[in-house]
Structure formats: structure tokens, C-alpha cells
Amino acid sequence: MTTTTTKTYLQAISDGLREEMRRDGRVFLIGEDIGVYGGAFKVTQGFLQEFGEDRVIDSPLSETAIVGSCTGAALMGMRPVCEMQFSDFVSCAFDQLVTVAAKQHYRVGTPVPIVVRLPSGGGFSGGPFHSQNPEGFFAHCPGLKIACPATPADAKGLIVQAIRDPNPVLFFEHKHLYRRIKGEVPDGEHAVELGKARLHREGSDLSIITYGAMVYTAEEAAQLAEERDGTSVEIVDLRTVTPWDRQAVLESAAKTSKVIVLHEDTHTSGFGAEIAATIAEEAFEDLDGPVLRVTAPDTPVPFSPPLEKAFLPQTEDVLATIDKLASY
């Protein structure tokens, strides 16, 4: 029987990484300040001491070299896991990911099993460059996989599975969940399949499709809606954006006939557009109302608290959208 322990989201990622490194000598870490300093968020604290300089590499400030060298090491049979200090900086490795890592297997059949860890998301005045959720850009790139865990258990299970996956995986870690969210995490080996959504909350009146930190915003709104007038909201946590669990989403849409898509990333061509378009295409006859999107607006992430609050999707925004759709 699997035992569990209560852990923060951050601890869960850290444990997943550490356990996988103990299990598999091919796994190594590379990134800026991940060794001596233990990472900007301390996810790899103590790793240098346990695994040594060869497996925990403090790299130069070189996102292109970090990702590119992971690709090379992976082609030689290693299982590299790199960290972008903030997910925002992945823009500096865009070409290596989209051009090299994502396409190498299709082109010449050689797998590139790398993991890129990406502390992401806003909520603490990080400003335009320490708050973004860049998964939307990469969702458009065939050949990459993308995980966005919401719970500590999934954070552990998905980082482990990401390492084992034979493809490049972008692993988004929402910074606002790191120390704020605690949950039961299975002890010992625990892997969560990429591409399987989690039914976060069952409901019958409408569905919210979301992932990452917004799962909690959805949950708050759902609770308020229920308390207020008994509206029963279902929440589907995608867990991974690529591949994404179309079946779970379409089933929920068929069940409730009303769907809200929610993400913290910006609106236009965000992944929510793909979800909404797919539902509109494949569940057209199931729908009793339009698929509504609740997202950040099409702006950079502003710094000042009143602006950032207006930018980030809030519980009230979701609640208002629930009302709008419920009464449709």
C-alpha cells in the first residue's frame, strides 16, 4: 500500500527530482545557480551535496547553451533536466527547443529525452519578465510535451514521468504554488501519465477546463457559486497541455453542456483558444451556450499591484462568467 506525506508543491518537485536521480544515474541537472545556491527557488537545495558537481551543474548565464547541451547529452544517452531561472527566460532558448529538440525525432528518428523546468506565473509583482506563463507559445510546436501540474502529488508524478518520457518536456512549475499549496504526495515511486486530465471537482451545471494555479481560482469560484445558489461546477485540471486530454474535456462538455476555459496566460492564441475551438468543433451539439474564455488580457504582465490584480484572472472574474453562462 502506498503511503503519503503532506508536502508543499515545491517539496514534491524536489523529491520527485531527487528520487529519480537516485534511481537513474543518467539523470543530471544543469542551470543557473542550481548548485551552490540550490536554485533561485531552492528546489534543488542540497542536491549538489548529495549528487556532486558532475550531476548538478551551475552553468553560465546561457539559456541556449543550457538547452542545446541537454539535447546533445540526451542524444548520447543521458537524461538531462535543466532549469530556466524563470520561465520567462525560455524565450532565449526558443530556437533550441522549437528548431532542434522538438524536430529531431521526426526528422531523423533520434529521441531527445530532456526536461526543461520552468518556474512560471504571476501574483507577486514580478513584473513583465518574472511572471509570464509561456506555455501558449510552445503548445503550438509539435514535438514538445508540456506539463503544468496544479497539485503537489501531480508535481511529483509529472516531473518523474517527464524525465522518463523519451521526448523534450517543458515542465511548468507555478511559483505561486511553490510554498502556498500543500497536499498529500505518495511516498516513493510515483509517476503520472502525461496526457491524462484529473477531475478536480465533479459538477453538473457547467465545466471549467483549466490547469496550473488557476485550478485553485476555479475551485474558489466553484465553491462560492455552490454556496450562493447551488450552481454545480465541474473542474477539469488538464495537468498537461501537450498532449492534452481531449476526451476528458469533451466528456465533461457533453455532461454539463456549458464550458468555461480558464488560464493565467494571455488571451489571444493562448491554449484556451485551442481548447475552446476543439470543443466548439467536436462538441457542437452538446453545447447549450458559448464556450467562454477567462484569461489574462492581451498585455505584458504589469508590475504594480493594482495593475497586476486587474491583469490576473480573479475569482470574481470566474464567478461572473459562471453567472453569465449559467443563465444563458
Binding site: P60, L61, P302, P306
Partner: protein, 348 residues
């Protein structure tokens, strides 16, 4: 094998005059350094008081480097300073209260609350606001220099970069392009020996970053960045050389980051002895001693200046605290520019 020149320290007042500085300039340099440090010290207090959101960075130890370079720039030169270069903003005339407002995310901050901390600049003062992504502003500064060259203007661009950031491709592409086209640009590397927790030896495998200049076809100089006068002299030389068609120069200004990467970081990884050694080379204290030795500053003048700077910063902090936060509606404003905005002296 080091190939860059190592700058000899400025010794005499004679040398200083040769470098185009009069008594007033020398005092202004001191004042700018005091204001620079004052802004950051006060900012740090405000931060601990919870009045500044986000994170907070200081450039303690870099005041001489930043003020020295900025003093050597002419009014219509432009620069793209980075996270340790508060002294550049101060020297170019950015009003301290607007910097505090920037820190606090107020509507009167240089980015009107859209961005925070050192991600700011006033283009009317010839400064370009940095992005976080380092050193993405080096290609941009190179483009400024390209514009000057195309228009045959006698202006110079100055681009800053950290020792850590010099590892990124943007530094290479910018320096290479500047070298090929012999552009009027000076590259400054603020080498404070660390990139966050990463020491120089894990950032690059050569003796001096200034050695790289050679590989782009221009001169590299290693300068003691704690010595404002030497920094000034070398920056002045390089900037005027660029202005006269002599092409780029790379100046590596060696200092030590005297505080953590940001104020959450206690910098446990920096050896005590190194901190102590550089503590003794504090750029402000060093320069103060020199001013006194040269009888440029006496006790009276010094006290007056301290009082004055203190008042300036008190007023500035108060004014910033009293200033308004941006309205939430501003969130949606300004993503795109309107055609009228191109109707400036720059853009005509």
C-alpha cells in the same frame, strides 16, 4: 594569456584636468555617487517596510563605475544601463522621487507602474530601459550606434552588460556587428565577480572578459571599477574615440557585488575576505579621501552636501509615497503605440 590592456590608475590632479574634469565636475561626481547610494539604501528600507512590491536590487560597490561612465557621456549620447547602474540614471538627471515612485509601482514612476525596480529609464535623458533578459539591450545599443553612424551624427552609444550576462549570445552578436561596422559604441562590462551565486570561474574560461574585444576587432581594457576617476578617464577616452570614428571599445570594470543578488539573498557564497578587501576599496570612501587630499572638499562642504542629499532624498521619498498608484484601467493601455507618438524630435 591576457590580451586586454590594464588601465593604470589615475594618480594626479593633473591627469584629471587632462581628462576634462574641473573642480565642479569632481564635486558633482561625488554628489552623484552619494545620491546613488542614498537612493538604494533608502529603497532598501522602504522595501523592508513593505512599501516596495516585488524584489529589490542594489548596486552597492558599483557607484563609481556607473557614475564614472555616465559622467563621460555627452548629453546627446545614449546608454542602456543595467541592474547595478543606478548611478547612470542619477548622473543623467533622473529625479530621485521618480525612481522611488518607480520602486513603489506608482503612476509617476518611470514606467508608470507597468514595470518595476531597475527596469526603467527616461529616453528623454538618453537612456533606454532594460528588460530582464540579459544582455538583450546590447544589440539594441548597437542599433543606436548604427543610427548615429548612418546619420553621420557625432553621438555615441554605451551598452552595459554583467560578467554573467556576457556569456549569452546577444553579447556576441552585438559586439561582432559593432566590430564589423566600426560603430560608435562603448561596451561596459560591470564585472562584479558574480552572477547571482555563480562566480567568474564558472562563467567564462579566460582571464579577463575584456580579452574578448580583440576577437571582435577592437580594444579591450580592464579597469578598477572602484576607482571612479580611472573609470571616468577610460570611458572618456573610449567614448571620444568612438565619436571620432575610432570604433568600439570594451571596458571591463572590476568591482565586487557588495550585497546579495537581490536583497533576499545573503550572498553566503561570497568569501568573507573578498568582501572585506573590497570593503576597503569602497568607491565612495576612496573618492572622498582623494577629494580631501586634493583639498577639493573640506569638512564644511562635505557636511553641507550630506545634508543637502539627505533632504533631497527625504523629499523624494515623501513625494513618491504621496503619489498615486496607477488606475487598474491602465492595465489595458499602451500595448500599442499611436502614430502621433512618433512625432518627437527623435522621430522626425
Amino acid at each position: 594569456m591576457a590580451v586586454a590592456r590594464e588601465a593604470a590608475p589615475v594618480e594626479s590632479a593633473e591627469e584629471v584636468r587632462e581628462a576634462d574634469l574641473d573642480r565642479e565636475d569632481l564635486i558633482q561626481i561625488y554628489r552623484n555617487m552619494l545620491i546613488t547610494r542614498g537612493i538604494e539604501e533608502r529603497g532598501h528600507i522602504l522595501y523592508r517596510q513593505g512599501k516596495i512590491p516585488g524584489s529589490f536590487y542594489t548596486g552597492r560597490g558599483n557607484e563609481g563605475a556607473a557614475v564614472g561612465v555616465a559622467t563621460a557621456m555627452r548629453v546627446d549620447d545614449v546608454g542602456a544601463p543595467i541592474q547595478r547602474d543606478m548611478g547612470v540614471h542619477v548622473t543623467r538627471g533622473t529625479e530621485p522621487w521618480r525612481i522611488f515612485a518607480q520602486y513603489m509601482g506608482r503612476a509617476d514612476g518611470l514606467s508608470a507602474g507597468k514595470d518595476g525596480n531597475v527596469h526603467m529609464a527616461d529616453l528623454r535623458l538618453g537612456l533606454i530601459a532594460m528588460v530582464s533578459h540579459l544582455p538583450a539591450m546590447l544589440p539594441v545599443a548597437t542599433g543606436c550606434a548604427l543610427a548615429f553612424k548612418l546619420r553621420r551624427e557625432h553621438r555615441v552609444a554605451v551598452g552595459w552588460c554583467g560578467d554573467g550576462a556576457a556569456a549569452r549570445g546577444d553579447a556576441h552578436e552585438a559586439m561582432n556587428l559593432a566590430g564589423v561596422h566600426h560603430l560608435p559604441i562603448v561596451f561596459i562590462i560591470d564585472n562584479n565577480q558574480y552572477a547571482y551565486s555563480t562566480p567568474n570561474r564558472l562563467e567564462y574560461g579566460v582571464d579577463h572578459l575584456a580579452d574578448r574585444a580583440e576577437a571582435y576587432g577592437f580594444e579591450g581594457v580592464v579597469v578598477d571599477g572602484t576607482d571612479v576617476l580611472t573609470v571616468y578617464r577610460e570611458a572618456h577616452r573610449a567614448i571620444e574615440k568612438a565619436r571620432d570614428g575610432g570604433g568600439p571599445t570594451l571596458l571591463e570594470l572590476v568591482t565586487l557585488r557588495m550585497e546579495g543578488h537581490a536583497v533576499h539573498d545573503d550572498a553566503f557564497y561570497v568569501p568573507r575576505e573578498l568582501l572585506e578587501a573590497y570593503g576597503r576599496k569602497d568607491p565612495i570612501e576612496r573618492y572622498r579621501r582623494w577629494l580631501k587630499e586634493q583639498s577639493i572638499l573640506d569638512e564644511v562642504a562635505e557636511d553641507a552636501m550630506s545634508a543637502d542629499v539627505k533632504k533631497l532624498l527625504n523629499d523624494a521619498a515623501r513625494r513618491a509615497e504621496e503619489s498615486a498608484s496607477p488606475e487598474p484601467e491602465q492595465t489595458l493601455q499602451g500595448v500599442y503605440a499611436e502614430p502621433e507618438e512618433l512625432d518627437t524630435p527623435h522621430h522626425r
